[in-house]
């Protein structure tokens, strides 16, 4: 087959569509809705930490972290959560301290942590993953007691049929988190440095908005000459 022929086929396939109808109106409505929703969610949340990591996130008030090191951890978690809620962070780098949790709980939380950003898995998947395929309900209970929601993404676990299941902060928040993650990209590159980062990396924060390109994978970025960031190590994500 000749290249000209490929050209022809592509031209025909890519002919523009008809004008979209009331797209502008729909977008403006969505803009108003998002302005209303822009969350003051973080205000109502307290974070407890040890010097090892975040140990508890709950609505309402919690005692302040005891040491300066713990306070620094809690502050860092708060900053990362704020970015996450604004759709500017696709991973958490702040450590968690789950040392006080029972073994089963630890296993369930570790499995939930492996669900990639923006994706969902059924409760049964978690049960399978920890080697207790029949303990689906116990998994649900363990996730319901997740001490560090958001950071350990228990909101990414749904019922097998696709039902939302329960959530610590109510299913409405769960739905909003999932839709937030659906619109937050994971890999971004800077057109001036040709470095690709995970969204939320410190490098990305210094990037001008018009230097930002999104990638589907680190390999894709590499294929056009971008290199992975050495700080956030996106290839390990």
């Amino acid at each position: 087959m000749k290249m000209d022929r490929i050209d022809d086929i592509l031209k025909r396939y890519f002919q523009p569509d008809a004008e979209p109808g009331d797209l502008a109106k729909q977008v403006l409505m969505a803009a108003r809705a998002s302005a209303r929703e822009t969350g003051r969610f973080l205000d109502g949340i307290s974070i407890q930490a040890t010097s090892e990591g975040v140990s508890l996130i709950r609505a309402g008030r919690l005692p302040k972290p005891a040491t300066a090191a713990a306070r620094r951890v809690a502050q860092r978690a708060r900053e990362e959560l704020a970015e996450y809620f604004q759709g500017e962070r696709a991973f958490f780098s702040v450590p968690v301290d789950l040392s006080g949790e029972p073994d089963f709980q630890k296993k369930v939380l570790a499995a939930a942590r492996r669900i990639p950003f923006g994706e969902v898995r059924p409760y049964a998947w978690v049960a399978q993953r920890i080697g207790h395929p029949r303990a689906v309900r116990a998994v649900g209970t363990a996730l319901g007691r997740n001490p560090v929601p958001f950071i350990v993404p228990c909101h990414r676990v749904l019922q097998t049929g696709g039902g939302l299941g329960g959530y610590l902060f109510g299913t409405d928040v769960k739905r909003r988190l999932l839709s937030l993650e659906r619109t937050t990209p994971v890999y971004e590159g800077c057109t001036s440095t040709h470095i690709v980062c995970r969204v939320g990396c410190i490098h990305g924060r210094h990037m001008r908005p018009d230097n930002r390109v999104v990638f589907a994978s680190v390999e894709d970025a590499r294929s056009i000459g971008y290199r992975p960031c050495k700080v956030c190590k996106p290839q390990a994500a």
Binding site: L10, F14, Q15, D17, L23, V27, R182, P185, S223
Partner: protein
């Protein structure tokens, strides 16, 4: 664009009227379904509306819009790929038509090359514009397009489509 940044809804309507169809064309060819494409274009336009203040006049408006749109579409492709380990078909695929073979063949072309092909063939963008949209050099644009086309050719010849 200045008017859009000041929240002028009529100006935004004009902008959508002028570029909406082409954006939709690109998104549809990248994502393979009208419904997913509309979703992507809507998200991209929302970003444009909210981020109009960051628009800088040395950009052509269409280049800027395409940059935002391809960012949204590429992320959607990532999500599909990571869900299944392989590239999976769109959630609500368009009914198969005469272009089924081409659509299948395009799915085998790496994402970056596919994005460039779509932009080049929907709107006939220049190499310079393509380079600007994805933040790469013109030589990379050329080599990606060449690579994409030869992959397509291989897939189509093997499939006996042409």
């Amino acid at each position: 664009m200045g008017r859009v940044a000041r929240g002028d809804e009529a100006a935004f309507g004009e902008l959508v009227g002028r570029y909406g169809g082409r954006l939709l064309g690109v998104a549809r060819r990248l994502l393979g379904s009208r419904a997913d494409a509309e979703d992507a274009v809507q998200r991209a336009l929302l970003q444009c509306y909210l981020g109009a203040g960051t628009y800088r006049s040395e950009w052509a408006v269409s280049t800027w819009l395409y940059r935002i749109l391809t960012n949204v579409c590429v992320d959607e492709l990532r999500r599909r790929r990571s869900r299944s380990g392989e590239l999976e078909p769109p959630a609500r695929p368009d009914p198969p038509g005469e272009h089924l073979d081409l659509r299948r063949a395009l799915n085998r072309v790496p994402t970056e090359a596919r994005v460039l092909l779509a932009l080049r063939y929907v709107d006939g963008l220049s190499y310079g514009e393509l380079a600007r949209i994805r933040g790469i050099s013109i030589n990379t644009v050329k080599s990606q397009l060449r690579r994409g086309k030869s992959l397509l050719k291989a897939a189509l010849t093997k499939g006996g489509a042409a």
